[in-house]
Symmetry: C2
Subunit: 427 residues, 2 copies
């Protein structure tokens, strides 16, 4: 047997063991109390605070390697930990502990004419695989959310953040041990070998109930192409702001600038602005001026270019680009129908907003489009589990199956039916 083949066998066996351990942990978690899981979350927060220096030292190793590999400034920023970010992770776990326990809640209850009483009861999904990129905090967030919802989780983070993630993971495992929950409730794939992801997605269907990818388009596409297990899909956020006449100028300006510029790197950031032709003379100039003032680059169609010399010419691919940067594509449309047709064609089904004083047009926009989140007179940057009042989330799902929009603890559950009878048989 060659060394490469031996390694492959080894990795397969290791992953299998991980799966078996996760399944066993999931069985134990399904019978655990919400109080025990919350206790573990609070202990995990304490472990993270107490080990702040160790986490920062591990992160320094990752950062040094990343600088050597000349990663982009944006990637370095996502990778970096500092005392504030460590504290934020601890607070995040405490916030998850405070969320209502989704497990065991009775979603619906009804009685049949034959006397059978049927309950639909929330249960954990079982074992969740999370595949993410080099953001160390996801280790704590995702581990915490899965634990809250009674699921065992297999984490597979980006290789650049490996030291940081393992140090964080060690804190979580100590907290599990100290609270009497199975240490295998939160496991990490033991290697940064990419083959492990393939095994997780393709060969572990009997151990993994669902995979949640969290990261950029390339990662998501790979997961969706390879997976033989169900995936809760998160595509990119190609979010639109549409200004429809009549619209309040200040509200329109505030929402456009906030939707684009508050944070440009999140999936709820706007990438395209559509403006009614009727509003070009009155609204577009001031809106563009405010965007330029905020440091935004504009790529516009011909009408937009004529309005301001700083506007660059939009190319066809601009309507399909998630910039995640201070760049906005701007297009003038004839009316509501044209705007909706543009969004149907170019959107990713994430989040869109209409700014207008016309309530009827707003309703047509809200009902007629089929994105996960549709807003009227509010910024697309509200596309966030916390802003929805759902607490922490693992991402915004753009698929239609299982969960859509923010994926929090509740969305990481399934349900079962509990039926109580008195001897009923079916005629």
């Amino acid at each position: 047997m060659s060394a490469a083949t031996a390694n492959k066998v080894d990795l397969g066996a290791q992953m299998l063991a991980l799966g078996e351990q996760a399944r066993a942990a999931a069985s134990a978690l399904a019978c655990s109390s919400g109080a025990a899981r919350n206790k573990a979350l609070l202990l995990a927060a304490r472990e993270i605070r107490a080990n702040s220096e160790k986490l920062l030292a591990a992160n320094a190793e990752d950062m040094a390697a990343a600088r050597e590999r000349q990663l982009s400034a944006a990637m370095l920023d996502r990778l970096a930990l500092n005392p504030d970010r460590v504290e934020a992770m601890a607070q995040g776990l405490e916030a998850i502990a405070e969320l209502p326990d989704p497990v065991g809640s009775v979603i619906a209850r009804w009685e049949r004419p034959n006397g059978l009483v049927i309950e639909r009861v929330r249960v954990p999904l079982g074992v969740i695989g999370i595949v993410y990129e080099s953001r160390p905090n996801v280790t704590a967030d995702a581990g915490g959310l899965c634990l809250k919802s009674g699921n065992a989780v297999i984490l597979r983070g980006g290789s650049e953040s490996d030291h940081s993630s393992r140090a964080i993971h060690a804190c979580l495992v100590r907290a599990l041990d100290a609270s009497g929950l199975p240490g295998h409730a939160i496991q990490m794939v033991p290697t940064t070998d990419r083959a492990a992801v393939g095994i997780l997605l393709r060969d572990m269907a009997q151990f993994v109930d669902v995979v949640v990818p969290r990261g950029g388009k390339g990662l998501i596409e790979r997961v969706q192409a390879d997976a033989r297990v169900p995936v809760i899909g998160h595509l990119e956020g190609l979010c639109h702001v549409y200004l429809h006449a009549p619209a309040d100028l200040k509200m329109a300006t505030d929402i456009v600038v906030n939707a684009k510029m508050r944070r440009t790197g999140i999936c709820g950031a706007a990438e395209t602005l559509l403006v009614d032709r009727e509003l070009v003379a009155s609204h577009l100039g001031p809106v563009l001026a405010a965007l330029f003032e905020a440091g935004c680059e504009i790529r516009g169609d011909e009408t937009v270019q004529q309005l301001d010399a700083r506007v660059k010419a939009a190319q066809p691919e601009d309507w399909d680009t998630e910039y995640l940067d201070a760049v906005l594509a701007v297009r003038v449309v004839d009316d509501l129908d044209s705007a909706m047709a543009h969004i149907r064609r170019h959107g990713s089904g994430h989040t869109e907003t209409i700014v207008t004083d016309d309530a009827e047009a707003a309703e047509r926009f809200l009902q007629g489009l089929d994105s996960a989140i549709l807003l009227h007179n509010a910024s697309t940057q509200f596309a966030d589990g916390g802003e929805f009042g759902m607490g922490a989330e693992i991402g915004i799902a753009t698929g239609k199956v299982h969960a859509r929009g923010p994926v929090g603890a509740e969305q990481l559950t399934s349900y079962k039916y509990v039926v109580r009878g008195t001897g009923q048989v079916r005629p």
Copy 2:
């Protein structure tokens, strides 16, 4: 280009066209009223009644070919139509029309401290692919349920029922046309070539939102292995009845006989009986006698064999076999924990029932197991959308993602968030 290659290209192009038409129909359906969809369902029922003779003639062709190919009696029975079964299809469509409209209903509504009003609104999934075996009535049932829930559907039935299914499909399309809904809302794959299923599962992710397989284990496994689109999984129903002491003898006997023998070919039929050792002397004899009297074959462990000479010896594979026939595996267990361990190991996560007067043990069984449906003192044959009061269903889902248990019109929907603001931006 060889003829085979040309056919492949043709089939690919045909399937692509089907997908584009389905997507366009789904957009139109999403904006259609529940009244229009109900009208089409009632017209479809009328078309089926009016064309009963044509349907029976088409079915006669299928039956003749099936007899020539010497299909089993069970398969011939599933394939056969007669006037009563045609009438049942029509009534099934009328019953679907009477169900509440799931589309557009507001599932939840809350207001945030910043004044944003968030609604979670039920929407169709979009385009559903249904892959089923040679049961002509599924064409009407599945087409009707998808239409009710505002989805476009691509149907792919078994080749043995092709003439029957096409005749039924023609009725549905005439009803769509007559009610002003897109005729492409219910499409059938134009060929019985199995390659079409592969294309549907692997190459049409942009057109198909979810695939629902309906049929035996082989079909489901193929769909789950090949699919690059989400699947609402239906595995087999390896359902258990567990008799736990103390238990009423008459109730136990009635439930066991009903769970096994009322209909042996449905997924909610019991396949394994587990009996507490404590109940062997008092209960097992009479229960076995009633089963034998009903014409059931028993395969038991040693204790069961000693009780009655007619009991055959159970082999290890019997605990993992879905007979779908008048055969029951019977095993004696030490206690509740042994019974639950057996079900966890051998069950398919479909439906299990406990018969006992011990309320505490029943609760442990209902909470501790993780099948889609868990019953206390009732027959497993209640595992059915109609019996749950949910109306028609497309099957009993055993997966944990999206839907679990009976999959009716409501389970064929997703949701979106509609958020109404007054100019809110995110701080």
